[in-house]
């Protein structure tokens, strides 16, 4: 990623401020009903009250623990499966289109099936998030290991490199940046799936609170939760991009 200039940073900050101002304007002057969109001040007040409750922290814990478990499963299964598939060109050619085809199916359609299998608790959301995030990780891992430059492998072979040496010094460093990108995309998908799954069908967690607030006509609480998730998501994505840039830059010039 290109390092952003100060100018771009100012424009980004300006964009956020404009969104906030628009929000305020719509509620204060624009006449948008507070049941549909409460003013920012009310949302902030509700949020402040919310973080003092035990329920808030219990929900946050359930959701983030679900995301962590789903992501661990998706990342390890995706990398292992992706790598093993690329050990045969034939299997790669057969399986790569199957996986990318499956990835285009909106897996949200299968959420009811996950609920049938794993129940209404966190387990179904973990399974759903893990399944969804598996695809970008596996697909990127396949792309990374299937397209290691032939000339590097040939050179290593001619120098008498063992299989392990070739893996350690050629395959891994060559695949690394692409795998890392897959891991970042996988995380974003995992985050969205677990929260989305919770919002559609759940008894606990942040998503459950969001849908509950909407049903109970409590817009302040609804937007407080949404704002919390938004800020957390942006912060996590910034963190992941920073890690990605760092390791990729260090590893491949």
């Amino acid at each position: 990623m290109v390092r952003l200039s100060a100018q771009s940073r100012i424009i980004q900050a300006g964009f956020l401020l404009a969104m906030g101002a628009l929000w305020y304007y719509a509620t204060a002057v624009g006449g948008v009903h507070r049941l549909l969109l409460p003013p920012p001040g009310e949302v902030w007040k509700t949020f402040y009250g919310l973080v003092q409750t035990e329920e808030f922290w219990r929900s946050v814990k359930v959701t983030f623990w679900s995301i962590a478990q789903a992501y661990f499963i998706a990342a390890s299964a995706g990398i292992i499966a992706g790598y093993i598939l690329t050990r045969s060109k034939l299997i790669t050619d057969i399986m790569e289109p199957v996986l990318s085809g499956l990835f285009t199916v909106p897996l949200t359609l299968l959420l009811p099936i996950f609920i049938l299998f794993f129940g209404i608790g966190p387990a179904s959301k973990i399974a759903y998030g893990a399944t969804y995030a598996f695809f970008p990780v596996a697909l990127n891992t396949i792309a990374a290991f299937a397209h290691v430059e032939e000339r590097w492998l040939r050179a290593a072979q001619s120098m008498g490199a063992s299989r392990w040496s070739t893996f350690r010094h050629v395959l891994i460093p060559s695949a690394f940046p692409v795998v890392i990108t897959g891991l970042r995309i996988g995380f974003v998908i995992c985050f969205a799936s677990v929260l989305g799954g919770e919002t559609i069908a759940s008894a606990v967690g942040i998503g459950h609170n969001i849908s509950l607030s909407a049903e109970q006509m409590e817009p302040g609480r609804l937007y407080a939760w949404i704002a919390f998730v938004t800020v957390t998501a942006v912060a996590l994505n910034l963190l992941l991009s920073a890690i990605e840039n760092r390791v990729v830059k260090r590893d491949r010039r």
Partner: protein, 279 residues
């Protein structure tokens, strides 16, 4: 006087090699090499010269053990090559730089020496000596991407030399370089060789490069590749650029060209649309 032991003089021996690519019997099947035999003596610099696609690189890859020929055998230092590299005998220098971009220059040398199972204590001494020989010692801590194409290829060549194998196989090592860099690197190579008793097989399609560097030039035919003629260049190493100004140099070059011209025409004709009959 007893006859010299033939095996001691011959570094590389290729016997009746035929190479086909593509599925047998399919329209894609290509006969790349057709019953090629050749002997290369110890300490000799040999060029394989021929039109593109004539199988020059294929010979090199077979001798280096990167793959097995369809038929025939290759022997290196008395040992049969059976589709497996002999890194203790042979080093490769390829056309494109094969330096790994995630390692610095010196790390690339260490890896090469490690792959060949050299003693760790010797890695840096050997690497630096090879880099000094090509005038690149001050770039040891640079990454390949920070070097120009010419510098990269210089380093690439030094890496091939640092492992000190008796045989060096060079597959168009200077093809990606401009004419001037190419001549300078050619001179460097000639200098480096004078000091070491190496057997070199060098693939090229540059006539001047072939004449300037070789002891013998193996001129090949268009596909399917065969050895058409062997030309001797009687000139000791290291060769100075003055050699290129001698009438003998031009004569040899013209001789090569005369031999190659028909082959190049055949290659070009095969790549064109079929001509309508009777024209």
């Amino acid at each position: 006087m007893s006859a010299p032991d033939a095996n001691n003089d011959v570094a590389i021996s290729v016997r009746n090699i035929t190479q086909r690519f593509g599925e047998a019997g399919s329209p894609d099947e290509v006969l790349a090499l057709d019953d090629v035999s050749l002997d290369i003596k110890r300490g000799e610099f040999v060029c394989l010269l021929g039109p593109s696609g004539c199988g020059k690189s294929t010979i090199l890859n077979i001798v280096g053990g990167l793959f097995k020929p369809t038929q025939g055998t290759a022997t290196v230092a008395g040992r049969l090559v059976e589709g497996a590299p002999h890194p203790d005998q042979i080093a490769f220098v390829f056309q494109e730089s094969t330096l790994l971009p995630w390692y610095t220059v010196i790390e690339n040398f260490r890896i090469a020496l490690k792959f060949r199972g050299m003693n760790k204590a010797e890695w840096d001494d050997r690497a630096m000596a090879a880099l000094r020989a090509v005038g690149m010692a001050s770039f040891a801590r640079h990454y390949p991407d920070q070097l120009s194409v010419g510098m990269r290829q210089r380093v690439n060549m030094a890496r091939g030399l640092c492992v000190e194998t008796p045989i060096l196989l060079m597959d168009e090592p200077f093809a990606a370089l401009d004419e001037q860099t190419r001549m300078v690197l050619g001179e460097d190579l000639s200098q480096l060789l004078a000091a070491r008793q190496k057997t070199i097989v060098f693939v090229t399609h540059s006539l001047a490069e072939a004449v300037f560097l070789s002891d013998r030039i193996f001129v090949m035919t268009a596909r399917p590749g065969k050895i058409k003629t062997i030309i001797d260049v009687n000139e000791s190493h290291p060769r100075s650029p003055d050699f290129m100004l001698e009438p003998r140099f031009s004569e040899l070059r013209n001789e090569c060209y005369a031999l190659l011209r028909d082959e190049i025409r055949r290659t070009v004709a095969a790549q064109r649309d079929p001509q309508p009959a009777g024209t």
